[in-house]
Assembly symmetry: C2
Homo-oligomer: 685 residues x 2
């Protein structure tokens, strides 16, 4: 279903009930650009820390506009043994709702716009009919303003709502307008003595109207209703009406109701995001970190400085996330799936050993044909993403005894994949762990090298030619990380470089220490983890109480908790999860369970880092980050759509490389610290 | 005529000949936004100096995109006694032409986008079919790259054009690709021994293709042509062909020609601007400063830091400009025209004493109906602007003895309006003088006041209540200019404020001195004028020689002079101006004549400043700059379209106010230093 400003209000209940009844939700966003940084390789160094990556994305990607939001709800129908889906395609645009509303500026990147254009994207729908939105602070401000006005009125200050509180004295009327204003006063005085109910003044300038409002408010604080009316020719004039107290109150009341309605309209699309958030349902996306960041940034609040704060906010807004790109890149899928771009993934999951899920489009919704449809309509991409999730989840059921063909979104089998968002092009950290600390792979085989800006990758290969296979990750024109294949070579490299003049080598540890010192000089101190290694997250109370919004600790500015317009104090989450039994029945405990399994996995990965993840990404990285410009030797056109940081090839090679050492996954899968499985295989398998 | 990427090449000759045959050109641009500054009042203080205004516009407006360019050519047909017009509406978009081309980012302002959307603007045409463009430096770089490649080839370096010069050694082939590359080498070796002419390799990744190119180039420097081919399914594979030397050269030549063609395509819309510039024709716009700035910025070069340099560049690109808003705001029109917004101006110029010009749309062009058409299509706005110019020019003919009904764009009567661009909302400097120094009105009745940020306009009125009528121009939250009605009150104000604690007063001279000192601290020294008070402009040589491009002095980077593709060394300008006799027949002398009259006028204005211009803008300014927010007391919706800095009202009041003291314009018009006329009335009147 296509939703624009035109049918938004009428569609809202359809959207709400689709979310409420769903087993899980799939989402996707389309943006006006990806990166306003100098280039993608600087934005995505293969040895970024999660903090660095978050900071870069926040700095270089958040000024773009999320202007199409795809939502596809999946509800499993037991009797039909198939999913009933409801796809929505929302067009979103920050149309200013009045003259005092924020006038949003956003960046467009011509390559992204051009890509979407080539896919038949309809920009007119966005810019002419996009649904407006407000973030929580803007909404709160607007509500406060309305409230304040209402209170003033109720307290009998006697100023009609259209007079700003600051204008209490007589208006200052410039000399050349005095005649004009005096004539208006005469007319209004005449109105009081004659039998007319209203007086239409002649059209005049905005400044003159302002003077009229101020003057009449001061001269006739009671008994008048003053309103600006626009003619068909867009001329504006003032209508003055004699009103008794009751009539005036009625008009004021009408005005307030109209304002309330306008306020809801202004909050606009954010209400859909609020409903998704409130539902607590599993939200599935493909390579979804930017989608999540943009959604929070645009519809909730500017992103926090700190990665840890971002994780907390994310858990409040989306208590359960699953990234199909990460899932496809993880055991048991990573060996079977050669290309994790959405389009390729979808194709591969149609073939054995996977099965295309049985789905049926709900009545009244556009039915997508996966054999025909173009990608990069957000609603379609969300749909495909959901299909991929279902295929992979069901495949996990084949390991059960007896095997199960249908695995629900609430199954314990998919839990290991919760709240881990794929990190593009980081060699040894596959995901951002939203509910816990991130992996900290050893990087003691990595050197930080600075050199003259004329140097190319080949110069680095030559410099380290004695050390066998190396891997270069460019940072900028004059620095790069060089990963050696063996850690014990690091000291040799350091020693031989001691007297070098043109270049300089530091260990990774020294580099990090230097950065840390720079940071401390800037007065920023690094966050520390709690004793137990877990974030003191506030999501527990927010999920269980059923309200959404930020935990108190995050409310740096006063954001009033927004009441959902459906008026339910109870969150649908209880309903969504209640008929599945967990070791502990509360949502918060379940999350904790996830976290613990995540930690075990983290250790497993950490121990294998330098041999496993690291080597494997070699070719993708040198292809992507090579500074040699060459027109014809292009990377594949990114099938990730607007995203120039193509990761498809990286994954291919990585898969190929890892295959070597781990042919017999199943046999090894119970070894603890196994090199082949990222996640511990649950006992049920 | 609507021109997009689809019909651009076919339309180019039509555009060129329309420009060549025209008497004058009218232009208009539509932008993705106006100001990314905090707010318009901060951007347009009523007492800005021209330098300040230029700096603000450059800083806060140039990141928007000029995405629709309107051009309407006007050619007078003597036999029909009417203008034949050719309107063009160009859609412009910086589509990246290949992977190494600049990926332009631009800002969109939601209010501007929303305004254009409400006018039925077609964003899809811009983003899907906009004509690309390059500025001069980008074009030069691209030409150099092509040239360099060609030379390398000619010098027998022997590297095919698709191999970058940096890759001379054997390619570094990562371990996991060695098998793959070795198999490719075997196949190619087999190709040399068998009878096949070409070999299609299997589709592979971009990185693998890069390795293949590098390897084959190194192993088989001669006898092979290697090319990437894309299948219908967008898969890319490499085709290797055996070629003899001749065949290889032929293919290389084809490739170079294709590149040349692609380069011209990439320069795209800039060629239209080059043609306008080369023609030397009078270019008419309405409130055209931003149009001129954007056009230069987007299609020539980033705007210079310094206003003086900007003026020089402008004269190179547009040697003759005329701003209809400035014309309408100047004697003899300012008293007759109550609203100088384009739409209103057009309406007023249809009524007596003005006459609607007789125009005919050339065959094959869209015929606009001024009674029907919506504004804010750039082509239509350009058309209307041209009409306004013709009406006003013809009106000037009524002062001749005998009166003339038709006044050409080359008439001396319109010269006083040349190269003076309207300055929005500056109280005492009506225009930016492109060909000379700007007016320097005395501001010795102006105070610079700083105060706590709680202060409102009313506080300032109260503070200065003893001084009669004052005028407040807000600078920011905590400072404003206050203009007193009498200069001798300045000292009194200064004395009484000496012991004030909450606020601080400086004279305007002190304020300017302080700013100057700050600037000098930053190492920027103010430009000085030449002894004779005139800019040493370089436009003389560039106009008379008929080439365009920047004067040598401005070429800070190496920009090669672009040769027009029409191949004429002679500029059309000679033709366009030759059958009109001037006191001096060269363009440069004529300009000088303008300048002198401009200087005389400047003095006239200067002497009357505090009584004339200043007072008159009072109401507009306090309306526009008042910091009191009030939803209902709005200014008029700007009829200047996307421009939130509505100036219409200001002009109205100014006109009203000046009318007081100058009822009998014609009688007084011969007094020197007259208070009623901005420009000296030429002797011919």
């Amino acid at each position: 279903m296509e939703v624009t400003r035109r049918n938004y209000k009428d569609s809202l209940n359809t959207v709400y009930s689709a979310i409420e009844e769903a087993d899980f939700l799939a989402i996707d966003g389309e943006f006006s650009g990806i990166s306003d940084g100098p280039n993608v390789s600087a934005l995505t160094n293969g040895l970024d820390t999660p903090e660095e990556r978050y900071t870069k994305l926040k700095k270089h990607s958040m000024d773009f506009l999320l202007f199409q939001f795809g939502l596809c709800t999946f509800k499993y129908d037991q009797t039909k043994s198939k999913y009933i889906i409801k796809p929505f395609n929302f067009y979103v645009f920050p149309k200013p709702f009045n003259r005092t509303s924020p006038d949003i500026k956003f960046i467009c990147q011509s390559s992204s716009i051009d890509f979407l254009a080539s896919q038949g994207f309809d920009f007119n729908k966005v810019f002419c009919n996009g649904i407006p939105y407000l973030n929580q602070e803007e909404e709160a401000q607007l509500r406060e303003q309305t409230e304040e006005r209402r209170n003033q009125h109720a307290n009998g200050v006697g100023t009609p709502s259209y007079i700003s509180p600051s204008s209490k004295g007589p208006a200052h009327v410039p000399e050349e307008h005095k005649d004009f204003i005096n004539r208006v006063i005469e007319k209004v005085e005449a109105l009081f003595t004659n039998s007319e109910k209203t007086l239409d003044l002649e059209p005049c300038t905005g400044f003159q109207r302002k003077l009229i409002y101020q003057t009449l408010n001061w001269k006739f604080p009671k008994g008048l209703h003053v309103e600006t009316i626009e003619t068909e020719k867009k001329e504006r004039y003032i209508q003055v009406s004699k009103v008794d107290d009751e009539e005036r109150k009625r008009r004021e009341q009408q005005k307030l109701e109209r304002e309330q309605e306008e306020l809801n309209d202004a909050v606009g699309f954010s209400r859909v995001i609020h409903a998704i958030s409130k539902s607590g349902k599993l939200v599935v996306g493909h390579n979804m970190l930017l989608d999540v960041m943009h959604t929070i940034h645009q519809f909730y609040c500017p992103l926090p400085e700190d990665l840890q704060d971002f994780k907390e906010v994310t858990m409040c807004v989306f208590p359960r996330l699953l990234d199909t790109k990460l899932m496809a890149s993880t055991q048991p899928f990573k060996e079977m799936i050669t290309n994790t771009s959405l389009a390729e993934l979808e194709k591969q999951l149609k073939e054995g050993p996977f099965k295309s899920p049985q789905v049926e489009t709900a009545e009244g919704f556009h039915s997508y044909d996966t054999a025909q449809e173009q990608l990069h309509e957000a609603g379609y991409d969300a749909y495909i993403t959901g299909l991929c999730f279902v295929s992979m989840a069901n495949y996990l059921g084949s390991f059960l005894t007896p095997p199960k063909a249908y695995i629900s979104a609430r199954s314990k089998l998919v839990e290991p994949f919760f709240n881990k968002l794929f990190l593009m092009r980081i060699i040894d950290i596959p995901y951002l762990n939203i509910t816990g600390p991130d992996l900290q792979p050893k990087r003691d085989h990595v050197l930080y090298v600075t050199f003259p800006k004329e140097w190319k990758t080949s110069d680095l290969y030559q410099l380290f030619s004695a050390f066998g296979n190396i891997q270069v990750s460019w940072i900028d024109d004059t620095s790069a990380f060089v990963s050696l294949s063996q850690t014990d070579q690091v000291q040799i490299a350091m020693n031989t470089s001691r007297y070098a003049e043109s270049y300089r080598i530091q260990t990774y540890a020294e580099y990090i220490q230097g950065k840390q010192q720079d940071k401390e000089k800037l007065g920023q101190t690094a966050k520390t983890w709690g004793d137990d290694g877990w974030v003191k997250s506030h999501y527990t109370s927010s999920t269980t109480s059923g309200s959404f919004g930020y935990p108190r600790g995050l409310r740096k500015r006063s954001i009033s908790p927004v009441q959902g317009e459906q008026g339910t104090g109870e969150a649908p989450i209880t309903d969504g999860w209640s008929h599945y039994s967990y070791p502990d029945s509360t949502g918060s405990k379940k999350m904790k369970t996830d976290d613990i399994s995540g930690q075990a996995n983290a250790e497993a990965v950490e121990s294998k880092t330098s041999e496993g993840w690291l080597k494997t990404a070699d070719s993708s990285d040198s292809a992507g980050l090579s500074p040699i410009p060459d027109e014809e030797e292009e990377e594949e056109e990114s099938s990730e759509g607007t995203n120039p940081a193509n990761d498809a090839e990286g994954t291919v090679t990585w898969q190929q490389a890892t295959r070597k050492g781990q042919k017999n996954k199943k046999k090894k899968s119970k070894d603890s610290g196994s090199k082949t499985s990222l996640f511990e295989v649950p006992e049920v398998w």
